[in-house]
C-alpha cells in the first residue's frame, strides 16, 4: 500500500498515467478556482485572490509541461536507456495528485483568513483581522497538511523521474534536484508572465 502511494509507477506509467494525471490536473484547476488556491510555481500552493478558471488551468498545465520538459532534457543525456517523454510526462502528471487534496483545503475559511491575519498582526498591512485560537490552530494544522502534501508530491516526482530514466542514486538525486530548482525558476517566471497578461487583458 505504501509502495503504491509513494511509487505507483512500478505498476502504472506511460499513457495510462498520463490520462489519469491530466484528469487530476484538470480537477485540481477547477477545484482550485472555486476554493481560491493557485499554484504559482511547480511546488507552491497559495491562497489566490480569485483567478478565472482558464488562468487556473493554464497555470497547472504550465507547471506540468515545463517541469516534464526540463526533467526530460536533464535525464536524456545522462541515462543509459532511451528515455521516453511519455513516461516523464505521464509520471509527472500523476505526481500532481496530492495537490488535488491541497486544492480542496482552500475551502476552509481559516486558511483564507490566516494570511490576512498574519499580515495584519506582523506588518499592520491590509484590513484588521481577528481570529479565534481554534481557527488559528486549524489554519496551522492545514498548513502542515499542505507541507506534507508537497513532500508527497516531490517524492512521487522523484520516483517518477528515477523509473522513467532508469537512473541510480546518487546520480538520480543530483539530477532531480537540479531539474527541480530549474523547474521552480522557469515556472515562476512563466506563470508571472501569464499573470501580467491576465491583468492587461482584463
Amino acid at each position: 500500500m505504501i509502495k503504491k502511494l509513494f511509487n505507483p509507477y512500478i505498476f502504472i506509467a506511460g499513457g495510462a498515467s498520463l490520462f489519469i494525471g491530466l484528469a487530476v490536473i484538470l480537477a485540481t484547476s477547477i477545484i482550485g478556482h472555486f476554493s481560491n488556491i493557485h499554484f504559482p510555481d511547480v511546488l507552491s500552493a497559495k491562497v489566490s485572490p480569485g483567478f478565472p478558471l482558464h488562468f487556473c488551468i493554464a497555470q497547472n498545465l504550465i507547471n506540468w509541461i515545463i517541469t516534464s520538459l526540463i526533467m526530460y532534457l536533464i535525464a536524456a543525456p545522462f541515462s543509459k536507456t532511451t528515455v521516453r517523454i511519455i513516461d516523464i510526462a505521464g509520471t509527472f502528471a500523476l505526481a500532481r495528485a496530492p495537490y488535488l487534496i491541497a486544492a480542496t483545503i482552500g475551502f476552509f475559511p481559516a486558511l483564507q483568513n490566516f494570511g490576512q491575519y498574519i499580515l495584519w498582526k506582523t506588518m499592520k498591512q491590509g484590513n484588521p483581522m481577528i481570529m479565534s485560537p481554534g481557527s488559528i490552530t486549524l489554519a496551522i494544522f492545514l498548513i502542515i497538511i499542505m507541507l506534507l502534501l508537497t513532500i508527497w508530491m516531490v517524492t512521487l516526482m522523484y520516483n517518477g523521474f528515477k523509473i522513467s530514466a532508469n537512473l541510480k542514486e546518487p546520480k538520480s538525486a543530483l539530477l532531480f534536484v537540479t531539474g527541480l530548482v530549474l523547474s521552480i525558476i522557469a515556472t515562476l517566471i512563466i506563470n508571472n508572465q501569464l499573470y501580467h497578461i491576465l491583468i492587461h487583458t482584463s
Binding site: F11, I12, T81, D87, I163, N166
Partner: protein
Amino acid sequence: MIKKLPISCPSCSHELNVQSLHCEACSTTISGQYSLPLLLKLEQHEQDFIIEFIQSSGSLKLMAQKLKLSYPSVRNMLDDLIEKINLLQNELS
C-alpha cells in the same frame, strides 16, 4: 521440492565451479573443473525474466501486462540484466 542450484559459495560468496557430473542412467561420474555457463551465473529471478522475455517474443509491452508492472519498470529490469550480462562477459574474457 525443487532444489535451488547454488551459484556462489555460502561461505565466502565466491563464484562456484562444477566439479563433477553424473549420469543417472549408467552411473558414470565425470570429475574435473568446469565453470558454470553464463546464464547459470544469473540469479533465479533473472533466469525467469529471460525465459518470460523469450516466451513474450521479446515484447516488453506484453511482459509488462503479464507481470502486472509498468513498461518502464520492465524495461529497467531488462537494462539492469543487460548490464549484468555485459559485466559477466567482461569477467570471462
